[in-house]
């Protein structure tokens, strides 16, 4: 950070030739500053690159996948990686790379969509509680505390068992769990910011609540939200993979990385590539998200408290 040097005298030499602000030197906003710091973090950039690549692949899978999703070759069976099948084939002779690409679509979609659900609910709820304050806030956060104490993992399993393994339900169930942390973070952000003098200054200028939220609260709360969003996605993806592994998540004919790992684990003695490649895809994605999240945390200078 560059501080404009002052030489004992705080009053800088006036440079009053400027008559138009376009002539003035552009300052470094905190966003620019953060980006500059992130750019220096190689692991975070690597993570970002991997994520962009995987997301692109997921979007374009139907067009770029080497084989059709339902294309079987029972005569071929499971073969190790080869020139025709770069990552090998499974016991039905299906191309593993194709399967991983299609599985990635689901895994990434669950990660992003469920996080988006959590983000939407959590940020709105938390911002509201933090901004309104007082008894409403206390009641709203009490509810979050109670929900927090519930054993959600078991509930999700229960939901999956009772209502069948439905993708939409999975999004909702995971989103419903993850919004709690989001709400806590947002609320503590808004509360801390509300006590800041610059928000008080905005009130004393006569700004309305909407303008204060938009111009003063949101831009300052955004950093931590971005960081926690990035770190929530891997948690969600893990949860999906966990459920799928147990056979309680994604159901065939759809597939996901968790499901592929589960199949791979069953046959790993003979066909280890069926475990290793889907595992690698999942681990690499989780790595990338965590590195990016850590990098963003450092770059945006977010303190490590959760509530």
């Amino acid at each position: 950070m560059t501080s404009i040097e002052n030489t004992g005298n705080d009053n800088p030499v006036p440079n009053n030739k400027i008559s138009d602000i376009a002539m003035a030197e552009q300052g470094t906003s905190l966003w620019k500053d953060a980006w500059a710091r992130l750019k220096k973090n190689r692991m975070a950039l690597f993570g970002l690159a991997v994520l962009v690549l995987f997301s692109l692949i997921a979007l374009l899978t139907p067009w770029i996948a080497p084989y059709g999703y339902e294309q079987q070759n029972l005569d071929l069976g499971a073969t190790p990686p080869s020139a025709q099948h770069w990552l090998g084939t499974d016991i039905f002779g299906r191309d593993l790379m194709t399967l991983i690409m299609y599985g990635g679509r689901i895994s990434l979609a669950v990660g992003f969509v469920a996080t988006a659900v959590a983000l939407l609910i959590g940020v709105t709820y938390g911002a509201l509680a933090g901004y309104v304050g007082g008894r409403t806030d206390a009641a709203m956060m009490r509810l979050v505390d109670i929900l927090y104490a519930l054993p959600f993992m078991i509930f999700i399993i229960l939901l999956m068992v009772v209502f069948g393994r439905n993708l939409l339900l999975l999004f909702l169930a995971i989103g419903m769990v993850e919004w709690l942390t989001m709400a806590r973070i947002m609320r503590s952000q808004v509360q801390a910011l509300r006590q800041q003098e610059f928000v008080e200054a905005a009130v004393s200028l006569g700004l309305g609540p909407v303008a204060i939220i938009r111009k003063h609260l949101v831009p300052n709360a955004l950093g931590p939200i971005i960081v926690y969003t990035t770190l929530t996605i891997p948690g969600v993806m893990l949860l999906e993979a966990f459920l799928s592994f147990l056979g309680l998540g994604i159901q065939p004919p759809q597939t996901s990385w968790g499901l592929l790992i589960s199949y791979g684990a069953e046959t790993m003695e003979e066909f280890p590539w069926l475990l290793i490649f889907p595992g690698l895809a999942l681990a690499l994605t989780l790595f990338s998200l965590n590195f990016l999240g850590d990098g963003l945390r450092d770059a945006l200078d977010v303190r490590s408290s959760k509530d």
């Binding site: 705080d10 602000i21 003098e197 008080e200 004393s204 700004l207 111009k215």
Partner: protein
Amino acid sequence: MSLLNVQNLKVSFHTRNGEVKAVDDISFTVETGKITAIIGESGSGKSVACYSLLGLIPMPPGKIEGGSAVFEGNDLLQLSESELRHIRGRDIAMIFQDPMTCLNPYMTIGHQLMEPIVYHKGMAKTEARQHAIELLEEVGIRDPHSTIDSYPHEFSGGMRQRVMIAMALINEPKLLIADEPTTALDVTIQAQILKLMADLQKKHSIGIIFISHDLAVVADIADQIIVMKKGKVVEHGDRQRIFKNAQHPYTRALLAAIPAGTKVVSETQSEALISIRNLNTWFGQGKNKEPVKAIKDVSLDIRKGEILGLVGESGSGKSTLGRSILRLVPITSGSISFDGIDLTEMEGQSLKKMRSRMQMIFQDPYASLNPRMSVYDTLAEPLLLHKIETKKTVEQGVLKLMDDVGLARGFVRKYPHEFSGGQRQRIAIGRALATRPEFIVADEPVSALDVTIQAQILDLMLDLGKEYGLTMLFVSHDLAVVKHIADRIVVLYKGEIVEQGSGKELFENPQQEYTRQLLQSIPGRALLG
């Protein structure tokens, strides 16, 4: 022979932005039984110089580039970490600035007090405990037999600093380094701690290095004064000489920055701009708890064109009173009228309109500016909101404000973190002036700033006050500052007005015990008059 002889000490920090010479070739001596004050503003290297002697600066990035520091025949800078450790806490002890954070919150104070003596002298726990109790008594902790088993949070700031002093003295050190030991305390507490330190120093005949940013604080107690600026010693000498006959222009600037003199007040009394009647502001703490009564039944007039000084210690409610007038905190009962208009019930658009007529300047220029808005955004916001300028003319309006508060126009697109504290406060003042207010609440506007910067900002506020024809409520804990700037002074204590009058009346003939106590606590009054 001197107790400590520092020669040509050089310390630098190797940061990402290159090498910073924090301490640049300084020499000084400390004598047994004398208090040596090191004075300097933030960034002068005064603390780094002392911490580096004991190996207490983080290395890297810090590095001692050269010099010597002879203490009892040993050069501290040449000692290994383990040798140094046997000197730290035994022969040389330290006290720090913020007593709220310097004691371990997870340990009883007794435990912490006994630690140095048990570790360095191998004293048995029971004996050490007895010793600690005696020392607690000596530093003025009541009922030490039971309080020794308390945790730090059970003590007030002043009491914690007493505990820190006891802890530093437990091994009867020969040298005590005190880093701004009273800066975080209220003035009356500060006076008590200063007296305690002076007494103990005489009794135990210790050498003390007293680090401070404030010449006035050391005016009563220092034997020697060293003035530092940007890593260098600019002047040193005994107290009398420094105060009576300072040679270096920087020392003179520091002395001149100590607010002195009483403002001459014109006798003509104008009508009241703001009338406060029976104001109560209480903060609820939930259903079952007694509310905190921050303001209790306060009635007060602020006259047109005057600067009213509002003085009080922490917890007196002085900030709350300012915020109540501006309707920034909800008031519990009573009335406030502004230019004959009742503010108490005002809401919505009419309140927004009134807000342009009264503004606030905050204490902490680091917190009072939105870090994500450039100077232009910050200053343009009120101009556009209250339609003082149009989209077309707003640029010129912003530049004019920057001229008024003495900020170079070239900085208009910079962000708050790119400015120094004084410059930020200028931006904040510009924002407050943007709405062309008639009334301004200035809440400790200079207490977060270095002393020389303080004087500049105070002067700026006085000038702008005249230029804009402002009425001002100047809230401060510092009587000297208030006396310098205010036409009238109100003393607030525990939410109630204790006394009010002109500076002259109050200083020469205080009516109330609390006011007298406050006046006696002003540091350096003997020397400064």
